[in-house]
Structures are given as structure tokens and as C-alpha cells.
Assembly symmetry: C2
Homo-oligomer: 263 residues x 2
């Protein structure tokens, strides 16, 4: 992707937007308006395709591969610097394991003076853990943590220490990026750490392709969990010691964490 | 509030909806549609007033005080049991320190057979920590925890243990319910625990009245934080050791947590 011109124009805007987990029904009106009025969309192809129905005929698509977040952030800032109105598109919430941090990393590291006049806006979205929780009840109804199991940008020792801390202090945990083609052992290692502190009967929620074709939401126990239950499109919620299953009727059950905590 | 009749009708529905932090621009289309088509709204007055522009003339409002969550949940289930289409209204995300857990608590404790046929749906929303983060940059850009500082439903010892665990494992922390008229010391106690592990220069974000009239967002340091900075309408984000301030221009700065973590 190349910028069409390098004449700076201080009217440029960069909106880092979260489209939610996939369904348009979960996307904020703020983000819808920005997508409909942007001159340029920048993002990973899968996400651009999800919001294609909102694209105006004149809006240019700048498709990038996944895992080139810093390049994508730089390209979006460069387009805004020449006066374009740019939407940088993340799934979920752009501030939770998504593109917003990448933009500020580039802004700080490269400190390019051409980016100083760009009007930057971050637009929140519903994150995968929230949609997963809503579909099964209220497993995040009490204190919780979000932990990415990807050890590409952080050492496994830091991840393991966080899992142990969260387990000991009895937080509900949302695991993002639990498994990928290259990272196959992290989820079972996380499970092994959790099993030192938490019952094998602890409810676990596995939600895949949220808001998209092929959505699946499964409730298992911590003891039953295996790596093949998850992939990069899965978010995994692990209950605390208090997380419970309630049977509403013979064919409907819910998972929730009470608001109260025993002494 | 009294139910108009006790004839059960299995077509009743209860949607537990999150309206986001306050602005209609942050409310999902799913929730907007439910609010516009419900026969009954149940909720705390402040939240009902925020969404009043979406109310159909025939939709009945059932206003309740704050802090009577279980009564409100029971009333909403009872209305749905007689065939009404009920929206139970939370601010933010109903699954994060809000009404969804209260509904499942009542459902489990009272196990009333009249509720078995109600179609329950939980509709996620943008939570205060996400809106606060978006307004200042990307402070939740890496692993984080959400902790409520209210010790009404859980003992302070459990809260203190969670703060210490989160501090030791270097999570970014979002504090909900930091201060109220009755609870004035919890935020400074949390700060004292954090100060054992984290620099006084750690960035802290205080966001009040998000998406509403009188919205304020302030960035301070952990060392400067005092209880009078916050109230029940404030969410407080405390950075990790890696959370940084980046200066985009002479008059614009951002707070973010990088995606990478040092070995």
C-alpha cells in the first residue's frame, strides 16, 4: 500500500475503530458513522469483509495481512497525515488486544513530525469476552482478568506468573489468543497452572466465530479442556471458585458468577 | 411495582441490556431495537432517563431505586412470566458489575417454576473501562484486571488480595465503584497496596460521567491519587509498569500500554 502523495494536510483524521465481535448488531453507531464517512479503510482482510456492507462506493480499501500491525498503523497514520479521513479497523475493541496500542507504539518509536497534526480518535467496541459471556449468562459478573496466551510479544514466564496470580486470587479469567497453528501447548499449560488452584469442575466457556457464520459456544469443565477445543478465533472464559451453572428449565442452563463473595 | 396479572404466558421475554456508558453513540443496534420494541422497561431511574428518547409511547417504565438489584431482577422476571417483552436496563455492559448476575442469582435462589418458560437474552454493551481507555489512548492494550472496590457484597480481605495479586503480576487494573458516600477509604487503601509494587509515576486515568453531560477524563500519577478524585460515577484505570505517556504534539498526549513485554 503506497500513500498517493506526500503533501501534508493538517485536516487529516485517523479513527481507530472496533467493529465488535462480528455481527453488525453489536457495532456502535459511532463506528458505523465513521466507517460510512471515511475516505480510506485500513485493516486485515477478514475484518474489512465483515463490514463491507457499510462501505461507500468512493471509500478506498487498504488490505493488509494479519500480524503486520506496526506496518498497518504506520500506513494509516501516513494516509491521515496527507489529509485523508482514515478508519483503522479492528475486530472487538481496538483497545483490547488490537490496533490502538500498535498505533501509539509507532507514534512513540518513530515520532515522525508529519503525524503531529493528525486528529486521532479511538472508538471502543464490544470485545469477544463480553459477547461470549452474554451468550451463556454472566460469567464475568465478578472481578475478572483478561490474559493473552500469545508468547510472541511477551515471555511465557510473564504469562505463567499472571495465570498463577489470577488463579490464586480467584479471578474469573478470559484467555485471548489461546491456540494458533504455531502455538499449540499454551492453553494446556495454562490449564495445568489453574488446576493447582481450581477444581476440575470449574465451568469453562469456549466461544468461536462470535457474531459470524459458524458461531459456536460450548460449556465444558476445566478438567475436560483440551487444546483442540480452541483456535485463534476462540475466546476462552474460565470461571472462579464461585462460578456456577443454573438450570432455568429442563433444556436451558446458564453460567454465572455471583456478585457476592464468601468471607 | 406490581405485576398487572398473574396469568402465565410462555411468550414472555426478558432482555438484560447494556446501554453503554451513557452516550447513544456507544449503544449497540441490538440494544436500540430491544428498547424500541419492549412493552416494559425496568431499571434505575438515571439509566431510564438516559434512553428516554428511544421509548415508544406505549412502553411502560418501571423505575426502581439503585441498590435493590434483586428486587428489580425479580420484578423483570415476573413481568416476562406473564407474557410481557421486558428490557432490564443496565449502564455499561450488563455482565460487568451490573444486572445480569443479579437475574441469575434470583433465578437460582428462588427457582420459581413460573420463570422456566421465559426467554432470557443478555445483550452486551461497552463498559466504562473501555470508553475511558478509548478517550485517553490504549491503557488496556495489554493484560488487565477489573476489580470492584465495593466491599458491600464481598469482604475487603478478598479485594485486598486481588489488588496485591494484580499488582505483583503487573496487570493494568480497572477499578469500578472506587468511592461512594459511605465508602471513602477503599481507593486510598488500594493505592497503598499498589505503591508497594508500582512506581509513584505510574499513570492513572480517572473518568467520570462517561458519555454524559459533565464528562471529565483526567490523567494523574499513582503518587498523586486521592480519594476525592473519584466517586460512584468514576472508573479508575491504573497502569502497569509498562504503561506510558506519549506526546503526539505540544498539546496532545496519550496513555497506552505496549503489546510487548520485556523478558
Amino acid at each position: 500500500m503506497t500513500a498517493p502523495s506526500l503533501t501534508l494536510n493538517p485536516s487529516g483524521k485517523l479513527a481507530i475503530v472496533g467493529i465488535g465481535p462480528g455481527s453488525l448488531a453489536w457495532m456502535s453507531p459511532e463506528v458505523q458513522t465513521i466507517l460510512q464517512t471515511a475516505t480510506d479503510w485500513v485493516g486485515y482482510q477478514t475484518y474489512l469483509d465483515l463490514v463491507e456492507p457499510l462501505r461507500a462506493a468512493t471509500t478506498q480499501r487498504h488490505v493488509s495481512d494479519n500480524r503486520v500491525e506496526l506496518e498497518r498503523a504506520r500506513a494509516a497514520l501516513d494516509l491521515a497525515a496527507i489529509g485523508r479521513t482514515v478508519a483503522l479497523i479492528s475486530s472487538g475493541d481496538p483497545g483490547i488486544y488490537a490496533m490502538a496500542a500498535a498505533v501509539f507504539e509507532v507514534l512513540e518509536r518513530e515520532a515522525s513530525p508529519v503525524w503531529a497534526a493528525v486528529t486521532i480518535q479511538v472508538c471502543p467496541g464490544i470485545s469477544a469476552m463480553q459477547a461470549a459471556a452474554a451468550l451463556v449468562g454472566a460469567p464475568l459478573g465478578h472481578d475478572f482478568c483478561a490474559i493473552s496466551l500469545s508468547d510472541i510479544l511477551k515471555p511465557w514466564t510473564a504469562i505463567a506468573a499472571r495465570i498463577e496470580a489470577a488463579a490464586r486470587a480467584d479471578f474469573v479469567i478470559a484467555f485471548y489468543n489461546p491456540v494458533s497453528k504455531q502455538r499449540t501447548w499454551q492453553l494446556e499449560q495454562a490449564q495445568a497452572i489453574l488446576r493447582q488452584w481450581r477444581s476440575p469442575q470449574t465451568p469453562v466457556v469456549l466461544a468461536r466465530n462470535l457474531g459470524r457464520t459458524g458461531q459456536t459456544v460450548t460449556v465444558k469443565t476445566l478438567g475436560e479442556l483440551v487444546s483442540t477445543d480452541a483456535d485463534m478465533r476462540t475466546v476462552v472464559l474460565v470461571g472462579s471458585s464461585q462460578t456456577r451453572i443454573v438450570q432455568q428449565s429442563h433444556d436451558r442452563q446458564w453460567v454465572y458468577t455471583p456478585r457476592f463473595y464468601p468471607s
